[in-house]
């Protein structure tokens, strides 16, 4: 086994860190106030290769793979998790298009995403929920040379900052009745609905997509008719869970930095509070969680890079890291005492952001359903 990062990966981390610290930090205050994603960062991120990191070079990407993506998202999130959230969902769309798209679809839709000209969207969740994918209500009906879409999608990341969306809808009943489509925002009947105002990850755009007799060309089906469940599940598992986990991982790293810095500077009883064992134990716990989560996240991404099936590892990385981010952020806030609840201190944002990672990108509980199934598999009676 080799746990060392390569020179390439270290350099990639350093470059994203420098970019995030210099270019994203000045945007955070406005993002927190307005709840808007700074789309002007997409072009500079594209220039660095962040937006197209998993896109193949023939479609304008870099093709660096999933471990590189996890490191990049971790570093973005260390500075601002909302940016990481927007970018990781952007990658999900690239994943879906690249894995299920025709050559013509890839040529048309992946390059603008890789170049940061627009943002990627994968729309599965509906007002009734996202976990029960098969129970969705949105429909798509074949009519001549078009598909007619009706329904609503909600809690959709990048809904209002994108020019086209990967949308899952029902073409028939049952698990084999779902299909995926590429809907452009100027297709007749395609609309954006309300924008949500979240408690955390405020600067990532979340909103509704509305399809009112929306007409899309017949060739805009993504994958096979009836293959929408596979598009949704594979995209959520292989790109969504790992991306969400990387976002939470960045939050944990930031928690450790903020907590350790504050504990070393804050004086109590004539000494820095880091010398108090209660504080030291909290720091030790955050420190350990960071390492556990790094190992989980990097393993899952590495497996994807090796073309290994990693659904269990993705679910483990996602559910554990997002829960750990909440635990660590809470401890970081507590270490700060009353300062921790002031808006001037970063830790309050870390806690709010961490809380949002748990239900996002496939809930933590659904992740645990996957894990329970994997744990019980050897004991299943035939």
């Amino acid at each position: 086994m080799d746990f060392l990062m390569s020179e390439r990966e270290e350099l990639l981390r350093k470059s994203v860190r420098e970019f995030a610290e210099s270019e994203i930090t000045p945007k955070i205050e406005a993002m927190e106030k307005t709840g808007e994603f700074p789309v002007e960062l997409m072009k500079p991120m594209a220039k660095m290769g962040i937006t197209g990191i998993i896109a193949p070079p023939e479609f304008g990407g870099v093709g660096l793979g999933y471990l590189a993506r996890t490191i990049a998202l971790e570093e973005l999130s260390r500075v601002c998790a909302a940016i990481s959230m927007g970018v990781q969902v952007h990658h999900m769309a690239i994943f879906a298009l690249n894995d299920f798209g025709t050559d013509a679809q890839k040529q048309r839709y992946i390059p603008p995403l890789a170049k940061g000209e627009t943002m990627g969207v994968v729309a599965v969740t509906e007002p009734s929920g996202g976990s029960d994918v098969v129970g969705m209500q949105a429909t798509a009906e074949a009519k001549g040379d078009k598909w007619i879409l009706n329904g609503r999608k909600c809690f959709i990341t990048n809904s209002h900052t994108s020019d086209f969306w990967v949308v899952i809808a029902k073409t028939a009943e049952g698990a084999k009745g779902l299909s995926a489509f590429i809907v452009e925002k100027n297709h007749p009947g395609a609309k954006t609905g309300r924008v949500e105002h979240k408690v955390g990850l405020r600067g990532s755009n979340t909103g509704e997509l509305v399809f009112d007799n929306c007409e899309i060309p017949k060739e805009n089906i993504l994958g096979q008719e009836g293959g929408g469940l596979a598009v949704a599940l594979k995209t959520v598992s292989e790109a969504g869970r790992t991306g969400m986990a990387a976002t939470a991982l960045g939050i944990i790293g930031a928690c450790l930095e903020e907590a350790a810095k504050f504990a070393s500077e804050r004086m109590l009883y004539g000494k820095p509070i880091s010398s108090l064992q209660a504080i030291g134990f909290y720091l030790a716990e955050i420190f350990t969680e960071l390492d556990i989560c790094r190992l989980l996240c990097y393993r899952a991404s590495w497996m994807k890079d090796q073309n290994m099936r990693s659904d269990t590892e993705n679910a483990m990385a996602k559910s554990y890291t997002c829960d750990a981010a909440v635990r660590c952020a809470r401890k970081a806030v507590e270490i700060h005492g009353s300062y921790g609840i002031l808006q001037e201190y970063k830790v309050q944002r870390l806690l709010r952001d961490a809380v949002v990672t748990v239900p996002a990108g496939g809930t933590g509980q659904i992740g645990k359903v996957v894990l329970a199934r994997a744990a019980l598999a050897p004991y299943k009676k035939k």
Binding site: E7, R8, L11, L12, K14, M48, G49
Partner: protein, 265 residues
């Protein structure tokens, strides 16, 4: 413009300065275990060189005198878009003062071959002498402009430079060959792109030792350094509490005076 050479010094990471120690005999910094980073001002020199490359297609060569384990730092600069790198590394170079360092760098530049520009950062974060660029220019017998805060090249072979001086700016026109050293206002160094990281893996780092450079050993290293460090002290920062007493208005006045004296307002 055919070739621009950029000098870069790997310096101890400022984030690890609290762990820095000095050799009690040579009074030089003990760098083992301390990560090295690109000297911040040198990045501005690299950016200036890359802008020349972008406009005129010049080859950009990175030159550094440092231990072999600093190669990842050179790789980072290559990933900014530099074409190739030369690392001057030999135990005989250790302990060189600014004069001996400049002599070694100048010999490295001569061996790289013809050039139009040699670009440097104005000073390094660790030594802060700002002597090396001028000394290199002197060894190469070319003009040198320090404190360059703006460089424009309207056409190849004609440079418009702005030099930052204490009370203002000096506008200069110059022709290559030249050595320029840059301030942080000169430009905004580019971020490393992933595409360039991949490209840099294929770019060469040549290692040249003194057997290759063939400099008289009495002119380099500790022996060839006319200046020796007498002592080196690390700056420490401490909080200091001052208690003001008296009537509220007296305390307020004294507090305002102190804040003013400290230059805060």
């Amino acid at each position: 413009m055919k070739r621009v050479i950029v000098c870069m010094k790997p310096v101890p990471d400022p984030k690890a300065w609290d762990r820095l120690k000095t050799d009690p005999v040579s009074k030089t910094l003990i760098r083992e275990g301390i990560p090295s980073v690109v000297n911040p001002l040198d990045k501005h020199a690299v950016e200036a060189a890359l802008e020349v490359k972008d406009f005129f297609g010049a080859e950009v060569v990175l030159l550094s005198m440092a231990p072999l384990d600093t190669r990842p730092v050179l790789r980072e600069v290559l990933a900014m878009g530099v074409d190739r790198a030369v690392l001057l590394s030999d135990k005989a170079f250790a302990g060189s003062d600014t004069l001996a360092t400049a002599r070694i760098l100048a010999q490295g530049i001569r061996n790289i071959g013809e050039f139009e520009l040699v670009l440097c950062g104005n000073f390094t974060l660790d030594g802060s002498t700002a002597q090396v660029p001028s000394q290199v220019a002197e060894f190469l017998d070319i003009p040198n402009v320090m404190h360059v805060c703006d460089m424009k090249i309207p056409k190849a072979g004609h440079l418009l430079l702005t030099q930052k001086i204490e009370q203002g700016f000096v506008k200069l026109e110059a022709e290559p060959p030249l050595l320029l050293s840059f301030t942080k206002e000169a430009n905004k160094p580019r971020y490393i792109s992933f595409m360039e990281i991949l490209a840099a893996e294929k770019r060469e780092i040549q290692i040249w030792d003194n057997a290759f450079l063939n400099i008289d050993k009495t002119l380099i290293g500790l022996e060839g350094s006319p200046t020796q460090m007498a002592d080196l002290l690390l700056q420490t920062k401490q909080r200091k509490a001052v208690k003001l007493t008296g009537k509220p208005e007296e305390i307020a006045r004294e507090l305002a005076d102190k804040i003013h004296q400290l230059g805060i307002i």
